[in-house]
């Protein structure tokens, strides 16, 4: 079974802190994704990576950056956390354009 793991299920940070969310997949997928999920808005793509060190902006990249140094690991970075970044963050991976496998999510609260 494909497994996508995320570093934390719950995280509480203060405004202005630098926040790292990590995602690891074990199926050698070249594609990895970071989404943000808010009630009534569905899943919105923050960033996408199709290979090591390669990244593309999604629909809402402002305030976020990403890093992919190894194929299995994709990190989301909030350079200076703000309260409007309080949300559920989901990581996913896929082989080409086929089904995406999601991690359990990280609920981030910024106070």
């Amino acid at each position: 079974d494909v497994k996508v793991t995320q570093s934390s299920r719950y995280l509480v940070k203060r405004t202005g802190e630098k926040v790292f969310l990590e995602c690891v997949q074990d199926m050698d997928h070249e594609n990895m994704f970071w989404y943000r999920q808010d009630p009534g808005l569905g899943l919105r793509l923050i960033y996408f990576s199709y290979d090591v060190k390669m990244k593309e902006k999604g629909d809402i990249p402002e305030g976020y950056s990403v890093s992919r140094e190894k194929k299995e690991r994709f990190s989301l970075i909030l350079e200076s956390a703000s309260t409007n970044q309080t949300s559920m963050y989901l990581c996913a991976s896929s082989f080409e354009g086929y089904e995406q496998y999601f991690g359990p999510g990280t609920r981030l609260t910024v106070t």
Binding site: G42, L43, F48, E56, F102, G103, P104
Partner: protein, 111 residues
């Protein structure tokens, strides 16, 4: 641009059928369907590709009208386990392997 899902919410009794629709303003290459239960990660149900290829769940069917950029998910003889939020994710050729997800349809099956 986010695809539009309808209805926003539906309540069924066990054994009843439901149809969830997904409509896009873009020419689509693929449509994915996922189900998310409360507090869990979305799980893959079905993928429909331009040209008619389908891959997915045994008890769930779907259609993809390429000309109208629409897809419908058919849930027949619903079970309590079908409850959750259903998302469609749309793939557009020029976006590569990225998906744009709809806001979701909440389905509740009552006994």
């Amino acid at each position: 641009q986010q695809p539009v899902q309808s209805p926003q919410a539906v309540i069924l009794r066990e054994g009843e059928d439901a149809v969830i629709n997904c409509s896009s303003s873009k020419a689509l290459y693929s449509v994915h369907w996922y189900r998310q239960k409360h507090g869990e990660a979305p799980i893959f149900l079905m993928i429909l590709l331009k040209g008619g290829e389908q891959k997915g769940h045994d008890k769930i069917s779907a259609s993809f009208n390429e000309k109208k950029q629409q897809s419908s998910l058919y849930l027949t003889a619903s079970q309590l386990s079908y409850s959750g939020t259903y998302f469609c994710g749309t793939g557009v050729m020029e976006y590569g392997n990225k998906l744009v997800f709809g806001a979701g349809t909440i389905l509740r099956v009552k006994s």
